[in-house]
């Protein structure tokens, strides 16, 4: 069964990624590779630089948090092999969330040989604060000034030569999205060296940190940094030490720390951050020039309008309309073309063969592996996904999604979703699996539970959304709007009820950087769509074929008829659907796109009426959580919760669908 559907990149674990790119024979010694960690603030282009260095492709997008898990790959740079590590965004070494802790733990425990800090040159100050912290690690470094094209628009000029002198480490200018600066970066990695940070925190604090480092276990790396983080009350540093050296050994350290902390008068945090930002200010004064007057162009105004409470709504509807029309008409046309060019000739060819009926059925019968497997995937589902991925890719790269987060915040807040969970929920429209994984940035259990449940519940992911659109468009625009309404109502209801039932506090703390909107690079979007389609075909096509074969066997052995008989009261009585829809449900267990493709056929052949089409789409959207999503829930919340949630979703949706069926019948007067 599939691990993740084609929506957005599957998150690979490190060993898989390594194996994929370079076969082990070609590298002399995997364990002795120098490690290069790409680190930086969210949405500064780390993954793009990773892609450029390794020649691999990982999904990049213009919103913070695209990369959730670390990725590793081996690349050959200047005749030497390096292990390149791509990391999720990191604000500072003082930790706020679980994603960030993974990055810091990686730095502390793996001790990368080279750190490449990726900086968004148009928001340099924020990044330089992180530079100050990374320099304290005394690890060879390279600074990459990315998005150099944005600086010109913002009237910023950075003297990278002077910056290189001041930091004492190589500084590379680059426009990663267009592949500019790649060779320079490769050269710089070979020349990476330890920089110098001339920040002194004053006698008292320095003294304290130095004495603390002497208490820390002897064989610990980055003692200075760890001591200063401990002094700042970082909640995770103690846990890290405990996991590494055992609680007993750390007890004495804690006693010493508490003693020192009491001795220090005043606010250590304030002194340290003041000194650091002073350093950043001094640095930027000499290396950065900022124009006073900037022309705020169309994209600036459009960005503001897109999150404006009034103007934002028509813009959103306009985008939705584009998606709808493209999915319905463009993919419809592609579908027709493929059917005309490939399916009809192939079917005709097979029909003309003198084959026994059984074999013909296996290939092109109603449950044939070609009909339900290959043709379903390639003619029906693929065109829809291609068109949708292309448009969705444009949205991602334009930076619209984060602005939409701001716009939709009010609605989510109404149902009790705290601010920081909203980004995850919006990501659910892309891929529910990825959205579920991104909830690890939520620290309060209640918030996390609600967010994970709502993502799994009535939010259609990109693949579902696009295919549902295509199905409902054939029934009529009103059907599409009814389904949309039903989903919104169920989702909001679920949110409100969960918020009431689950005890505990929620804390609102929404701090989100909004990337500037830009016109998406069509080349980048084409590449992204291509990779998504390829990964869809690789993952889904075998499952389409296998599930078709399974259904064929089920049918031939008579098991299908028995199952239908058993489920009839539920399906026909309660949901008001025809008996044959059970084929769809069985396929949905394997892969929902396959099921949706079959619904599409049933609609085309008028096997489903208006109400039945609506109900069928809602069923496939809510009732069958995708397997990858359930696995992600298990990862984040534990397996018990994952199973409980799946059961809860199934039961609730079963109830809701019966109600929807009844309601529609009353309204339509059937």
């Amino acid at each position: 069964m599939s691990n993740c559907h084609a929506g957005i990149q599957p998150t690979k674990n490190s060993s898989e990624a390594q194996e994929k790119v370079v076969s082990p024979q070609s590298i002399p010694d995997m364990n002795n590779l120098k490690k290069v960690a790409i680190i930086g603030l969210p949405n500064t282009g780390k993954t793009q630089i990773f892609n450029n260095l390794t020649g691999e492709y990982n999904i990049v997008a213009n919103y913070p948090g695209t990369t959730i898990e670390m990725k590793r790959s081996v690349a050959r740079i200047n005749d030497q092999y390096y292990e390149i590590i791509d990391t999720p965004g990191l604000h500072c070494l003082y930790i706020h969330s679980e994603e960030e802790i993974a990055v810091r733990d990686m730095i502390f425990s793996e001790r990368p040989d080279i750190i490449v800090q990726c900086i968004d040159a148009s928001q340099y100050k924020q990044s330089f604060l992180l530079t100050a912290e990374l320099l304290e690690l005394e690890t060879p470094m390279v600074v990459v000034l990315n998005s150099m094209d944005e600086t010109a628009r913002k009237g910023i000029w950075i003297d990278s030569v002077e910056l290189e002198k001041r930091l004492g480490i190589p500084v590379v200018e680059c426009i990663a999205l267009r592949g500019l600066g790649k060779e320079e970066l490769k050269k710089a990695i070979a020349k990476a060296r330890t920089g110098s940070l001339d920040v002194k925190y004053g006698f008292q604090i320095e003294n304290c940190i130095n004495e603390l480092t002497s208490v820390l276990p002897f064989d610990l790396d980055f003692k200075y940094k760890i001591a200063s983080l401990y002094l700042l009350n970082d909640p995770f540093v103690e846990k890290y030490l405990e996991s590494k050296f055992g609680a007993e050994k750390i007890l004495s350290v804690r006693v010493a720390f508490n003693k020192f902390r009491r001795q220090l008068k005043g606010n250590v945090r304030q002194v340290i951050t003041d000194k650091r930002s002073q350093w950043v200010n001094n640095l930027t004064e000499t290396v950065v020039k900022q124009q006073k007057m900037i022309y705020q162009g169309f994209s600036h105004h459009f960005t503001q309008a897109s999150r404006h409470p009034v103007l934002g709504i028509p813009i959103f509807l306009f985008f939705m309309a584009i998606v709808y029309l493209a999915v319905v008409y463009v993919s419809g046309a592609i579908d027709k073309f493929i059917t005309f060019a490939a399916v009809t000739p192939v079917t005709g060819f097979i029909n003309s063969w003198p084959l026994p009926v059984f074999w013909k059925d296996l290939l092109i019968g109603p449950h044939g592996i070609l009909t339900l497997g290959v043709f379903n995937a390639i003619c029906t589902v693929l065109p829809i996904l291609t068109v949708f991925f292309f448009i969705f890719g444009c949205f991602e790269d334009s930076g619209y999604i984060t602005n939409f987060t701001v716009l939709s915040k009010r609605i989510f807040a109404k149902i009790g979703i705290p601010g920081n969970a909203i980004t995850s929920l919006v990501l659910g429209f892309g891929c529910k699996t990825m959205a579920t994984l991104s909830t690890r940035s939520l620290t309060i259990p209640k918030e996390k539970f609600i967010a994970v449940f709502l993502i799994a519940f009535a939010i259609p992911c990109s693949a579902q959304l696009s295919i549902s659109m295509a199905i409902l468009a054939r029934v009529g625009l009103s059907a599409f709007l009814i389904v949309l309404g039903a989903l919104v109502v169920s989702e909001m209801g679920a949110g409100i009820i969960l918020n009431k039932i689950i005890k505990g506090k929620t804390e609102s703390c929404f701090i989100q950087v909004i990337p500037p909107m830009r016109f998406p690079s069509l080349r980048a979007v084409f590449i992204k769509t291509y990779y998504r389609i390829v990964s869809f075909l690789k993952e889904a096509l075998p499952i389409f074929i296998l599930s078709a074969a399974g259904l064929f066997i089920f049918d031939k052995t008579g098991l299908l008829a028995m199952t239908k008989q058993a489920l009839t009261p539920m399906v026909v009585g309660w949901m008001g659907l025809p008996k044959d829809i059970i084929d769809v449900f069985l396929l949905a267990l394997a892969r929902r796109e396959a099921a949706a493709g079959l619904i599409l056929k049933m609609v085309d052949s008028h096997a489903l009426n208006y109400i039945q089409s609506i109900v069928a789409v809602v069923v496939t959207t809510i009732s069958f959580p995708c397997v990858a999503n359930v696995i992600a829930i298990g990862k984040e919340m534990g397996w018990k919760t994952a199973v409980a949630m799946t059961v809860m979703i199934f039961a609730t949706s079963f109830l809701l669908i019966g109600m929807l069926n009844g309601l529609l019948k009353v309204v339509c007067g059937v």
């Binding site: 500072c92 340099y124 005043g266 999150r307 915040k409 701090i511």
Partner: protein, 251 residues
Amino acid sequence: MGITKIVEHDEHIEQLWYMKEQGEVSVDFLKTSMGNTYNEKVIEELFNSGLIDLSQNALIIKLSDDGEARARQLIRAHRLAERLIADVLGGGGTDLEKIACEFEHTVSAELVNSICTLLGHPKECPHGMPIPEGECCRLALKTELSLIVPLSDLKLGETARIAYINCRNDQQIHKLEGLCIRPGVIVKLHQNYPTYVIECEGASIALDKEVIANICVWKNAQPSVSAADQKKLDKKNNGKSLSKFFHLFKK
């Protein structure tokens, strides 16, 4: 009681408050931390007037409820005075400590509340120690005269310089610092509905009401108090404090 005696009593009470902040209760600790300013007789007098509790053969010393109220008032005055000097009058270093020390003993509760309101109810002194909450903070009083207001009070498109951030949550404050949202930085309010959006050092940042209300910024103060606010404040402070405040500055 003469002024020097009051000062001596207050010093002891304050020291006991610092000890409470650090979780210390032994008389020995008090002795060592006060050095030669420690006075056995003062302790006796404080005990007699019911401001402190002694237990375990006078080895454990704590503020009584009354004593705590007095200490709270003193510490509040001291730390607010430091804020006033550091933020408004631009003083620093030893000045800060010296003036604040003299100030705390003579100032009335009403005047302290006025200063607190003027400064936008700060929660920390310039050294980062907590300022005890007063009546005015609970009511979140505002006047036109307030020099420092929450960022959420700005009009759309207005820019202002951040004075301080009222936040006791370390993680949140580090996150804000990481985004360069820190004292001294100039920010612009872009949007306040459905959520707040500010511009800071070239980045647009969306924030919750709860977060943005803690970010206090300098306002171009108008030297007039609106009638309604004056009334609200006078009612709370018996109409004395504002005139007193101006008096202080004239001196």
